[in-house]
Subunit: 137 residues, 2 copies
Amino acid sequence: MKTYSISQAAKELNLTAYTLRYYDKEGLLPFVDRSESGTRQFKEKDIDALRIIECLKSTGMPIKEIKHFIDWCAEGDSSLQQRYNMFLERKACVEAQMEELKKTMEMIDHKCHYYETALEAGTEKIHQEVKMEFPEY
Amino acid sequence: MKTYSISQAAKELNLTAYTLRYYDKEGLLPFVDRSESGTRQFKEKDIDALRIIECLKSTGMPIKEIKHFIDWCAEGDSSLQQRYNMFLERKACVEAQMEELKKTMEMIDHKCHYYETALEAGTEKIHQEVKMEFPEY
DNA sequence: TTAATCCTTATAGTTAACTCTAAGGCAAGA
DNA sequence: TCTTGCCTTAGAGTTAACTATAAGGATTAA
Protein backbone atom coordinates (compact mmCIF):
# COMPACT_ATOMS: atom_id res chain seq x y z
CA MET A 1 0.00 0.00 0.00
CA LYS A 2 1.32 3.42 -1.00
CA THR A 3 2.23 5.78 1.79
CA TYR A 4 3.21 9.45 1.81
CA SER A 5 6.03 11.12 3.72
CA ILE A 6 5.05 14.19 5.70
CA SER A 7 6.20 16.54 2.93
CA GLN A 8 4.45 14.53 0.23
CA ALA A 9 1.27 14.56 2.27
CA ALA A 10 1.68 18.30 2.82
CA LYS A 11 2.05 18.86 -0.92
CA GLU A 12 -1.03 16.75 -1.63
CA LEU A 13 -3.07 18.84 0.81
CA ASN A 14 -1.57 22.25 0.02
CA LEU A 15 -0.22 22.52 3.53
CA THR A 16 3.31 22.59 4.95
CA ALA A 17 5.09 19.85 6.88
CA TYR A 18 5.15 22.31 9.81
CA THR A 19 1.39 22.48 9.77
CA LEU A 20 0.97 18.70 9.70
CA ARG A 21 3.34 18.28 12.65
CA TYR A 22 1.39 20.99 14.45
CA TYR A 23 -1.88 19.15 13.79
CA ASP A 24 -0.30 15.94 15.08
CA LYS A 25 0.87 17.71 18.23
CA GLU A 26 -2.67 19.01 18.76
CA GLY A 27 -3.97 15.45 18.61
CA LEU A 28 -5.61 15.64 15.20
CA LEU A 29 -3.63 12.78 13.65
CA PRO A 30 -3.60 9.83 16.08
CA PHE A 31 -4.32 7.48 13.16
CA VAL A 32 -1.06 8.16 11.30
CA ASP A 33 1.34 5.22 11.61
CA ARG A 34 5.11 5.46 11.97
CA SER A 35 7.94 3.52 10.38
CA GLU A 36 10.45 1.64 12.53
CA SER A 37 12.65 4.73 12.63
CA GLY A 38 9.66 6.85 13.70
CA THR A 39 8.84 8.51 10.38
CA ARG A 40 5.17 9.31 9.80
CA GLN A 41 3.64 7.24 7.00
CA PHE A 42 0.44 8.81 5.68
CA LYS A 43 -1.95 6.34 4.08
CA GLU A 44 -4.49 7.32 1.42
CA LYS A 45 -7.16 7.04 4.13
CA ASP A 46 -5.20 9.49 6.30
CA ILE A 47 -5.08 11.99 3.45
CA ASP A 48 -8.87 11.65 3.14
CA ALA A 49 -9.25 12.21 6.88
CA LEU A 50 -7.12 15.33 6.56
CA ARG A 51 -9.38 16.56 3.78
CA ILE A 52 -12.28 16.29 6.23
CA ILE A 53 -10.24 18.15 8.82
CA GLU A 54 -9.57 20.91 6.27
CA CYS A 55 -13.26 20.94 5.40
CA LEU A 56 -14.18 21.43 9.07
CA LYS A 57 -11.54 24.12 9.39
CA SER A 58 -13.01 25.94 6.42
CA THR A 59 -16.35 26.10 8.24
CA GLY A 60 -14.55 28.09 10.93
CA MET A 61 -14.27 25.23 13.40
CA PRO A 62 -11.29 25.67 15.75
CA ILE A 63 -8.69 22.93 15.99
CA LYS A 64 -9.63 22.06 19.58
CA GLU A 65 -13.19 21.28 18.51
CA ILE A 66 -11.98 19.26 15.56
CA LYS A 67 -10.01 17.23 18.08
CA HIS A 68 -13.27 16.27 19.81
CA PHE A 69 -14.48 14.85 16.52
CA ILE A 70 -11.24 12.92 16.05
CA ASP A 71 -11.59 11.53 19.57
CA TRP A 72 -15.18 10.48 18.83
CA CYS A 73 -13.99 8.67 15.71
CA ALA A 74 -11.54 6.67 17.83
CA GLU A 75 -14.38 5.78 20.24
CA GLY A 76 -16.23 3.92 17.51
CA ASP A 77 -19.95 3.37 17.00
CA SER A 78 -20.95 4.68 20.45
CA SER A 79 -20.25 8.24 19.25
CA LEU A 80 -22.14 8.02 15.93
CA GLN A 81 -24.97 10.28 17.17
CA GLN A 82 -22.57 12.96 18.44
CA ARG A 83 -20.69 12.95 15.18
CA TYR A 84 -23.92 13.21 13.19
CA ASN A 85 -25.07 16.11 15.37
CA MET A 86 -21.75 17.83 14.84
CA PHE A 87 -22.10 17.65 11.06
CA LEU A 88 -25.68 18.95 11.27
CA GLU A 89 -24.39 21.92 13.29
CA ARG A 90 -21.64 22.50 10.73
CA LYS A 91 -24.23 22.39 7.96
CA ALA A 92 -26.27 25.10 9.70
CA CYS A 93 -23.10 27.10 10.19
CA VAL A 94 -22.18 26.92 6.52
CA GLU A 95 -25.71 27.90 5.52
CA ALA A 96 -25.41 30.97 7.74
CA GLN A 97 -22.06 31.79 6.17
CA MET A 98 -23.62 31.55 2.73
CA GLU A 99 -26.32 34.02 3.77
CA GLU A 100 -23.70 36.40 5.12
CA LEU A 101 -21.67 36.12 1.96
CA LYS A 102 -24.75 36.91 -0.12
CA LYS A 103 -25.29 40.13 1.84
CA THR A 104 -21.63 41.01 1.46
CA MET A 105 -21.92 40.46 -2.28
CA GLU A 106 -24.91 42.79 -2.47
CA MET A 107 -22.95 45.56 -0.78
CA ILE A 108 -19.94 44.99 -3.02
CA ASP A 109 -22.15 45.04 -6.13
CA HIS A 110 -23.74 48.24 -4.93
CA LYS A 111 -20.31 49.82 -4.52
CA CYS A 112 -19.18 48.59 -7.95
CA HIS A 113 -22.17 50.33 -9.45
CA TYR A 114 -21.47 53.43 -7.36
CA TYR A 115 -17.94 53.68 -8.77
CA GLU A 116 -19.00 52.90 -12.35
CA THR A 117 -21.39 55.84 -12.21
CA ALA A 118 -18.79 58.05 -10.55
CA LEU A 119 -16.16 57.16 -13.15
CA GLU A 120 -18.58 57.94 -15.99
CA ALA A 121 -19.36 61.31 -14.44
CA GLY A 122 -15.70 61.87 -13.58
CA THR A 123 -16.63 62.70 -10.01
CA GLU A 124 -18.14 61.17 -6.91
CA LYS A 125 -20.30 64.27 -6.47
CA ILE A 126 -22.83 62.77 -8.88
CA HIS A 127 -24.09 60.66 -5.96
CA GLN A 128 -24.50 63.56 -3.59
CA GLU A 129 -26.46 65.49 -6.21
CA VAL A 130 -28.72 62.54 -6.95
CA LYS A 131 -29.39 62.12 -3.24
CA MET A 132 -30.38 65.77 -2.86
CA GLU A 133 -32.97 65.47 -5.62
CA PHE A 134 -34.27 62.07 -4.58
CA PRO A 135 -33.66 61.51 -0.87
CA GLU A 136 -33.06 57.86 0.04
CA TYR A 137 -36.36 56.11 0.92
CA MET B 1 -27.56 66.34 13.46
CA LYS B 2 -27.60 63.26 15.64
CA THR B 3 -24.23 61.85 16.65
CA TYR B 4 -23.26 58.64 18.43
CA SER B 5 -20.79 58.19 21.27
CA ILE B 6 -18.18 55.48 20.77
CA SER B 7 -20.18 52.96 22.81
CA GLN B 8 -23.42 53.83 21.01
CA ALA B 9 -21.68 53.43 17.66
CA ALA B 10 -20.21 50.13 18.84
CA LYS B 11 -23.66 48.88 19.83
CA GLU B 12 -25.10 49.95 16.47
CA LEU B 13 -22.37 47.99 14.64
CA ASN B 14 -22.19 44.97 16.96
CA LEU B 15 -18.62 45.81 17.84
CA THR B 16 -16.98 46.94 21.07
CA ALA B 17 -15.66 50.41 21.90
CA TYR B 18 -12.22 48.76 22.16
CA THR B 19 -12.48 47.63 18.58
CA LEU B 20 -13.51 51.05 17.31
CA ARG B 21 -10.59 52.70 19.11
CA TYR B 22 -8.32 50.07 17.60
CA TYR B 23 -9.66 50.82 14.12
CA ASP B 24 -9.10 54.51 14.74
CA LYS B 25 -5.53 53.86 15.89
CA GLU B 26 -4.95 51.86 12.69
CA GLY B 27 -6.07 54.86 10.62
CA LEU B 28 -9.45 53.51 9.54
CA LEU B 29 -11.50 56.36 11.01
CA PRO B 30 -9.88 59.67 10.04
CA PHE B 31 -13.32 61.06 9.21
CA VAL B 32 -14.71 60.84 12.75
CA ASP B 33 -14.97 64.28 14.33
CA ARG B 34 -14.27 65.09 17.98
CA SER B 35 -16.05 67.30 20.49
CA GLU B 36 -14.23 70.18 22.21
CA SER B 37 -13.24 67.82 25.01
CA GLY B 38 -11.90 65.32 22.45
CA THR B 39 -14.75 62.82 22.50
CA ARG B 40 -15.41 61.01 19.21
CA GLN B 41 -18.73 61.96 17.65
CA PHE B 42 -19.87 59.38 15.09
CA LYS B 43 -22.21 60.76 12.45
CA GLU B 44 -24.74 58.61 10.58
CA LYS B 45 -22.39 58.79 7.57
CA ASP B 46 -19.54 57.45 9.73
CA ILE B 47 -21.66 54.48 10.80
CA ASP B 48 -22.33 53.78 7.11
CA ALA B 49 -18.61 53.98 6.36
CA LEU B 50 -17.99 51.50 9.17
CA ARG B 51 -20.55 49.17 7.65
CA ILE B 52 -18.48 49.22 4.45
CA ILE B 53 -15.34 48.56 6.51
CA GLU B 54 -17.08 45.57 8.12
CA CYS B 55 -18.17 44.40 4.69
CA LEU B 56 -14.59 44.53 3.42
CA LYS B 57 -13.42 42.73 6.54
CA SER B 58 -15.95 39.98 5.93
CA THR B 59 -14.40 39.40 2.51
CA GLY B 60 -11.17 38.57 4.35
CA MET B 61 -9.47 41.88 3.63
CA PRO B 62 -6.87 42.74 6.26
CA ILE B 63 -7.13 46.06 8.12
CA LYS B 64 -3.94 47.42 6.55
CA GLU B 65 -5.43 47.02 3.08
CA ILE B 66 -8.70 48.56 4.17
CA LYS B 67 -6.62 51.54 5.27
CA HIS B 68 -5.43 52.00 1.68
CA PHE B 69 -9.05 52.30 0.62
CA ILE B 70 -9.74 54.84 3.40
CA ASP B 71 -6.70 56.83 2.25
CA TRP B 72 -7.96 56.75 -1.33
CA CYS B 73 -11.33 58.05 -0.20
CA ALA B 74 -9.59 61.03 1.43
CA GLU B 75 -7.70 61.70 -1.83
CA GLY B 76 -10.97 62.35 -3.67
CA ASP B 77 -11.87 61.82 -7.32
CA SER B 78 -8.29 61.09 -8.44
CA SER B 79 -8.51 57.66 -6.80
CA LEU B 80 -11.90 56.64 -8.24
CA GLN B 81 -10.37 54.08 -10.59
CA GLN B 82 -8.28 52.47 -7.85
CA ARG B 83 -11.29 52.20 -5.58
CA TYR B 84 -13.37 50.71 -8.37
CA ASN B 85 -10.66 48.16 -9.13
CA MET B 86 -10.49 47.27 -5.46
CA PHE B 87 -14.20 46.50 -5.34
CA LEU B 88 -13.94 44.43 -8.51
CA GLU B 89 -11.16 42.41 -6.86
CA ARG B 90 -13.26 41.99 -3.73
CA LYS B 91 -16.15 40.81 -5.89
CA ALA B 92 -13.96 38.13 -7.46
CA CYS B 93 -12.72 37.17 -4.01
CA VAL B 94 -16.26 36.76 -2.67
CA GLU B 95 -17.23 34.71 -5.73
CA ALA B 96 -14.28 32.40 -5.03
CA GLN B 97 -15.35 32.13 -1.40
CA MET B 98 -18.84 31.17 -2.49
CA GLU B 99 -17.41 28.40 -4.67
CA GLU B 100 -15.29 27.15 -1.78
CA LEU B 101 -18.27 27.20 0.54
CA LYS B 102 -20.29 25.21 -1.97
CA LYS B 103 -17.63 22.50 -2.03
CA THR B 104 -17.50 22.51 1.76
CA MET B 105 -21.27 22.11 1.84
CA GLU B 106 -21.07 19.13 -0.49
CA MET B 107 -18.59 17.39 1.79
CA ILE B 108 -20.68 18.16 4.87
CA ASP B 109 -23.82 16.87 3.16
CA HIS B 110 -21.97 13.73 2.18
CA LYS B 111 -20.92 13.19 5.81
CA CYS B 112 -24.45 13.85 7.08
CA HIS B 113 -25.68 11.13 4.76
CA TYR B 114 -22.84 8.85 5.86
CA TYR B 115 -23.87 9.17 9.52
CA GLU B 116 -27.59 8.84 8.79
CA THR B 117 -26.89 5.51 7.11
CA ALA B 118 -24.54 4.44 9.90
CA LEU B 119 -27.08 5.35 12.59
CA GLU B 120 -29.80 3.38 10.81
CA ALA B 121 -27.51 0.35 10.61
CA GLY B 122 -26.26 0.94 14.16
CA THR B 123 -22.66 0.74 12.95
CA GLU B 124 -20.20 2.51 10.74
CA LYS B 125 -19.16 -0.86 9.30
CA ILE B 126 -22.03 -0.61 6.83
CA HIS B 127 -19.85 1.71 4.75
CA GLN B 128 -16.84 -0.59 4.68
CA GLU B 129 -19.02 -3.51 3.59
CA VAL B 130 -20.65 -1.50 0.85
CA LYS B 131 -17.25 -0.41 -0.42
CA MET B 132 -16.01 -3.99 -0.63
CA GLU B 133 -18.95 -5.01 -2.80
CA PHE B 134 -18.92 -1.90 -4.98
CA PRO B 135 -15.44 -0.36 -5.04
CA GLU B 136 -15.43 3.42 -5.40
CA TYR B 137 -15.21 4.45 -9.08
C1' DT C 1 32.57 9.41 2.03
C1' DT C 2 30.47 13.38 1.93
C1' DA C 3 26.96 16.47 0.99
C1' DA C 4 22.19 17.04 0.35
C1' DT C 5 17.88 16.18 1.75
C1' DC C 6 14.86 14.27 4.15
C1' DC C 7 13.18 13.28 8.92
C1' DT C 8 12.71 13.84 14.29
C1' DT C 9 11.67 16.62 18.94
C1' DA C 10 11.34 20.63 21.70
C1' DT C 11 10.73 25.13 21.92
C1' DA C 12 10.64 29.97 20.52
C1' DG C 13 8.85 33.63 17.48
C1' DT C 14 5.31 35.74 14.45
C1' DT C 15 1.00 37.74 12.98
C1' DA C 16 -3.58 39.67 13.04
C1' DA C 17 -7.06 41.34 15.41
C1' DC C 18 -8.45 42.24 19.09
C1' DT C 19 -8.97 42.83 24.39
C1' DC C 20 -7.91 44.76 28.42
C1' DT C 21 -5.60 47.64 32.16
C1' DA C 22 -4.00 51.77 34.18
C1' DA C 23 -4.36 56.41 35.06
C1' DG C 24 -6.94 60.05 34.73
C1' DG C 25 -10.54 63.87 32.77
C1' DC C 26 -15.42 65.47 32.54
C1' DA C 27 -20.41 65.75 33.37
C1' DA C 28 -24.93 64.42 35.18
C1' DG C 29 -27.82 62.95 39.07
C1' DA C 30 -28.60 62.14 44.56
C1' DT D 1 -20.02 67.61 46.87
C1' DC D 2 -19.52 63.14 45.58
C1' DT D 3 -20.27 59.02 43.27
C1' DT D 4 -21.32 56.79 38.89
C1' DG D 5 -20.41 56.15 34.52
C1' DC D 6 -19.09 57.80 30.60
C1' DC D 7 -14.89 59.23 27.97
C1' DT D 8 -9.59 59.69 26.85
C1' DT D 9 -4.54 57.86 25.98
C1' DA D 10 -0.68 54.67 26.02
C1' DG D 11 0.67 50.44 26.21
C1' DA D 12 0.53 45.53 27.71
C1' DG D 13 -1.64 40.91 27.25
C1' DT D 14 -4.27 37.31 24.73
C1' DT D 15 -5.49 33.96 21.27
C1' DA D 16 -5.31 30.95 17.31
C1' DA D 17 -2.85 29.06 14.01
C1' DC D 18 0.83 28.70 12.31
C1' DT D 19 6.03 29.26 11.21
C1' DA D 20 10.58 28.78 12.16
C1' DT D 21 14.94 27.43 14.56
C1' DA D 22 18.10 24.39 16.81
C1' DA D 23 20.20 20.15 17.34
C1' DG D 24 20.67 16.04 15.68
C1' DG D 25 19.50 11.17 13.34
C1' DA D 26 18.70 8.39 8.94
C1' DT D 27 18.78 7.80 3.88
C1' DT D 28 19.97 8.73 -0.80
C1' DA D 29 22.99 10.43 -4.94
C1' DA D 30 27.55 11.51 -6.75
